[in-house]
Amino acid sequence: MIIIASDKALPPNNTSASTDSWYESSARQRVENLLDANSFNEFIGPELRETSPHLPLFDLPEQFDDGMIVGYGRLDGIPVLVAAQEGRFMGGAFGEIHGAKLTGLLRAARDIAWLPVLILFDTGGVRLQEANAGELAIAEIMRALIEARFAGIPVVGLVGGRAGCYGGGGLIAGCCSALAVSEQGRISVSGPEVIETNRGLEEFDSKDRALVWRTMGGKHRRLIGGAEVFADDTVASFRDAARFLIKHAPSMSLEMLEAEQFRLTQRIEQFGTCADAADIWRSLGATKPQSIPALPHPDFVALANDLQEPHYVAR
């Protein structure tokens, strides 16, 4: 018997854009699938070829959008400004053009004063080949972001990309009105290798990926209050999170920063002597902290809601 395989009668692929993995999608796919169909309008798109003026000095390939996509679109009908980093190009790192696009977007948000902003983080931090420009870009972005929040604009960060959200990216994320993070997402200032290099293998084994995720990953960030929403790794889940968080982002004020000061000093008092994330989770009240990394999305969301209320007014 010879089997003749025929795919003429194939049912359509059982995949739709919204169930696509956020982690696997490119920055363009994320923007495309996050926003309403055909609603995205890019500012300084790739056809304008505004590439890095510095990478040629290092004989490195450029990308037409310098790894940052910014523009205007709609999220379930709500007009929004969007920025997305491509984590695979130069590790999503901030360079001069890359950063300036986001600066311009946030300054506009501040002055328009009614358009929410979504930042789709995917970054290893500062791009070393243009380190000074990248560092300054981060400082400028933070200032513009905080000014926008002071003007009452929700700035929502979404973290779940391949490069994580490291270095200055972690600081920008810390300035956002609210964050959604997935299990794959990592938020941290120093990367695992940096800690290992500086402190030695005994302090941090960067190859122990369970340790990396336990210390910097999305679940831990949600549990200590560093992120408000724990998203599943799908575009649909991040869209729900973004829509929700836009509504739960009060303007920045002195009271809010006082509340954050309280929240952060409390955190040091509560967990400052914990040696490992599992100890922190245990002191939060988790009965089986070792089982947390493996918990499926809905179970973890329920547990997190139980252990740690999101702090919309304290960040």
Binding site: N132, A133, G167, L171, G174, I187, G225, E260, R315
Partner: protein, 241 residues
């Protein structure tokens, strides 16, 4: 310059600034009799969660005490503290919070002025000096985003090659001149003249609403594109609504 000398030259009429565990807190008297709040980091210590929380707490205290007292932040720090504990506790939030407090102080009417007199790097640099409205420096200051040996490891280029490349651009190599050229440092002070006068002159200048570091970087040929790109995006975004 050493911190004592700097404080002496900044505040000839006296100050209450103390250094404890590398953190600087206090007040200085300005020439016109007003006071200026002083915070900062001395002795090249790294900034971790504990240091950041203490610094931000002081900034909030200044804001809460009312008025529009200026804030001076003196910096000779390491980079952020690179440890498991700090990251476990969410160092990114602490550093961001410090920057938020400084920028909010600014929005609420306090002048914020940074003075780099030693080293600083990476996340510590962003959360302190780069979060001020006007960044000053003294000659000999050593701001760095990343040091050349680390850069050499990551880029797989020798330090010599990096040094050679650094001759043609200020965009990546550490150092005060490079950071001044890219627009980070507004003014490099003259240590041989009274720092008090120079500070007064900075404080007396009108406050710019807009972050102008990208424009400065363009004028000084350190960042050729940032200002234009930001402006174009700004205009396109405004035109889209």
């Amino acid at each position: 310059m050493l911190l004592d000398k700097i404080l002496e030259s900044l505040f000839p009429s006296g100050h209450t600034v103390l250094v404890a565990c590398g953190l600087i807190f206090g007040r200085g008297a300005l020439a016109d009799g007003d006071s200026i709040a002083v915070i900062g980091v001395d002795g090249r210590i790294p900034i971790g969660v504990d240091e950041a929380a203490l610094l931000s707490g002081h900034v909030l205290d200044v804001i809460k005490s009312g008025g529009n007292e200026p804030i001076l932040i003196l910096i000779d720090s390491d980079s952020q503290r690179m440890s498991k504990r700090d990251e476990l506790l969410g160092l990114n939030e602490f550093l961001a919070h410090l920057a938020k407090c400084l920028i909010l102080a600014n929005k609420l009417g306090h002048r914020t002025i940074g003075l780099l007199y030693g080293h600083t790097a990476a996340g510590a640099f962003i959360a302190t000096a780069l979060a001020t409205q006007t960044l000053l420096a003294l000659p000999g200051a050593e701001p760095a985003v990343m040091d050349l040996p680390s850069m050499s490891r990551v880029t797989k280029l020798s330090i010599e090659v990096l040094q050679e490349k650094a001759k043609s651009t200020p965009v990546f190599a550490p150092g005060l001149d490079n950071l001044a050229q890219t627009g980070a440092v507004a003014i490099t002070l003259d240590p041989d003249r009274s720092l008090a006068h120079q500070l007064t002159s900075v404080l007396s200048q009108p406050v710019e609403r807009e972050d102008s570091r990208d424009k400065l970087g363009k004028e000084r040929n350190g960042r050729p594109k940032a200002a234009d790109i930001a402006k174009r995006v700004y205009e396109l975004a405004r035109a889209s609504v």
